[in-house]
């Protein structure tokens, strides 16, 4: 090891200690302790559960996903067993998981967000991520995240109930994501995740029918990477809290670009379908090799670097 600088992949994300900057994005797997543990074993520095609400939800009928040339469009409809049932899964997960557990939550009112967050943290969640950006369920998700007044109320209500970091996942389906980010920061968000899926749809030419049962859904995968990158670049210029980059990352190079744009950590979901679950390991090794090659010693040194170039 003579002369060679040691590279440190550790990230402190609003108090969460990650041993590398890759995370499992919400909505992907994340129902059970076994799958979350398996993603952590594949190298994720932290995992985020599926979005959990106050009551169980069965989600939409199939087709809930459309595979297109440029990415995936999904409208699952937030299926989840409800927080009362899920606290058992959180407890079971905490017993085996060696990385931070972030519980994604949604609600149909300020009170619901606060109640679910309180229960999740009570059961052992290391942080919560507020889903205020799901583009395909009415009266929650992006309908909250697109309204600055309601968004601020939700964040404040959750902050009053929990003593763990509160992440807020932003929607790209807004006029100015930087304005929304600023609102979230002022209301007390400890970190911002950007971005959720881009509102989209698919129509079958032969039958002239919308394919998704819900008609509209959210686009993920490589197609939205440039959009996500721009969002993070804009948000970084306006807020001080850490940003978690998400949207179309499938390689270490994508991940590095997000860090350069201002993300302190990154999330992946669709990449699991494209590259396999070990994508977390290959991406963090790639980041490490990049840092070494460029003479950096930590992830922190390159966060937002593009703004200074």
């Amino acid at each position: 090891m003579t002369g060679e600088k040691l590279v440190n992949l550790n990230v402190n994300l609003a108090g969460l200690k990650l041993t590398n900057p890759t995370m499992l994005a919400s909505g992907i797997l994340g129902y059970s302790s076994e799958t979350l543990e398996s993603i952590a074993e594949n190298g994720a520095g932290a995992v985020v559960t599926k979005s959990i609400g106050l009551k169980p939800r069965v989600g939409y009928a199939n087709p809930t996903i459309v595979q297109t040339k440029c990415g995936l469009i999904n409208a699952m409809g937030l299926p989840n067993p409800g927080i009362k049932e899920f606290v058992r899964e959180i407890r079971a997960t905490k017993k085996v998981l060696k990385v931070p557990l972030v519980v994604s939550i949604y609600g149909f009112s300020t009170e619901e967000y606060a109640k679910v967050a309180e229960k999740a943290v009570g059961a052992g969640a290391d942080a919560v991520e507020l889903n205020v950006s799901c583009p395909h369920v009415k009266e929650t998700g992006s309908e909250i995240g697109q309204n600055p007044k309601i968004l601020a109320q939700v964040i404040k209500a959750v902050k009053l109930k929990v003593d763990k970091p509160v992440f807020v996942k932003l929607s790209p389906n807004v006029t100015s994501i930087a304005d929304i980010a600023e609102t979230a920061e002022k209301a007390g968000a400890d970190a911002l995740t950007a971005i959720n899926t881009v509102k989209a749809m698919a129509i079958d030419a032969e039958t002239a029918m919308p394919i998704l049962s819900n008609k509209v859904g959210g686009l993920s995968g490589p197609a939205i990477k440039p959009v996500a990158l721009r969002c993070i670049y804009e948000v970084y210029e306006r807020v001080k809290v850490p940003i978690v980059g998400c949207g179309g990352i499938t390689s270490w190079r994508d991940a590095v670009e997000f860090l350069l744009a201002g993300a302190s950590a990154i999330q992946m979901g669709t990449a699991i379908a494209l590259k396999g679950a070990n994508v977390f390991k290959t991406v963090s090794r790639g980041i490490e090799a990049y840092l070494k090659r460029k003479g950096f010693r930590s992830v922190k040194e390159i966060v937002g670097l593009s703004h200074r170039r």
Binding site: G27, I28, L29, G30, Y31, S32, E34, T35, E37, S38, K50, P56, R57, V58, G59, A61, N62, P63, T64, I65, V66, Q67, T68, K69, C70, L72, N74, M76, P79, N80, P81, G82, E85, A202, D204, E206, T207, M209, I211, S213, G221, G269, T270, I272, A273, L274, K275, G276, A277
Partner: protein, 274 residues
């Protein structure tokens, strides 16, 4: 890149070429699809009934000429709508998805029930080319519901096929597992393949374990994305759509707590298997 490029699997539509009535509740649908025509026994596809639903189906046959067949039992709204479609009507297809049965030579036992017999017939055709000796145990509720009996008899030989019916209208009265102990006591098998009701497969697995015989079972769970993302089909740490649907004996041991016992419901909650 992975062996599952999602772009290559993208949604497409095709027309129904042929519909064959197999039993009072089961029809076989044949259509053209280049990608699924390359499928291996055990793999499945997602079939879209426009405006109704999209359902996972085991592949019954895949031909070099580009045609694919699936056997569908009328069990709910989606399959009822599919049964009402006519030749020439449009359906959507994604796939093929998942892994496949390993093709073993030697002495084979197959245990199948209901439409679980479909992927086993596809496999039996492939095994026959490898000159494997196949012994077949097949079960159904009634004589009319015993699927593909003639096709199996042709491959295995009449003397190597035991049929069971729950009402006793044909063959042995009982479940497919009823004659199993007797069959296993009489012959030594190198491999057991099973597909059908999960409680049946669990019994096959348990019996095989006591005798130290390798088993491969094709599992079924609620499917949504079919590409290993949504988590609807998880059993233990495995995703049935991507890590399965065919599970080896070692994997089955790992998921013993859930195999034949429970599955995840539409809301992700673990519920007992019927």
């Amino acid at each position: 890149m992975s062996a599952y490029p999602t772009a290559a699997n993208k949604h497409r539509t095709t027309r129904l070429l042929n519909i064959k009535t197999e039993s009072p509740t089961v029809k076989t649908f044949t259509f053209k699809d280049k990608q699924c025509a390359k499928a291996k026994p055990g793999q499945f596809l997602m079939l879209w009934i426009p405006g109704i639903d999209e359902i996972p189906l085991s592949i019954l046959d895949a031909d070099k000429n580009g045609t694919v067949s699936v056997a569908v039992k009328k069990v709910g709204e989606a399959t009822k709508a599919l049964h009402e479609l006519k030749t020439g009507e449009t359906i959507g297809v994604r796939g093929p998805f998942g892994n496949s049965f390993t093709v073993k030579k030697g002495k084979i036992l197959m245990v199948g029930g209901g439409t679980g017999l479909a992927p086993l017939l596809f496999l039996a055709k492939k095994l026959a080319l490898e000159r494997a000796k196949i012994f077949m145990v097949m079960g159904a509720k009634t004589r009319e519901e015993l699927l593909f009996k003639e096709a199996f008899e042709k491959i295995c030989g009449k003397e190597n096929l035991v049929a069971t019916t729950e009402d006793g209208s044909y063959g042995v009265k009982g479940l497919a597992t009823t004659p199993l102990e007797r069959v296993l006591a009489k012959e030594k098998f190198d491999m057991i393949y099973t597909c059908g009701p999960e409680k049946m497969m669990r019994k096959v697995f348990d019996l095989a374990e006591t005798r130290g015989i390798a088993v491969e079972a094709s599992l079924e769970r609620l499917m949504r994305c079919a590409i290993g993302l949504c988590g609807s089909c998880v059993i233990g740490k495995y995703r049935v759509c991507r890590d399965g649907p065919v599970f080896t004996v070692n994997q089955l041991r790992e998921v013993k707590g859930e195999f034949g016992v429970s599955k995840r419901d539409f809301d992700g909650k673990l519920i007992p298997l019927e």
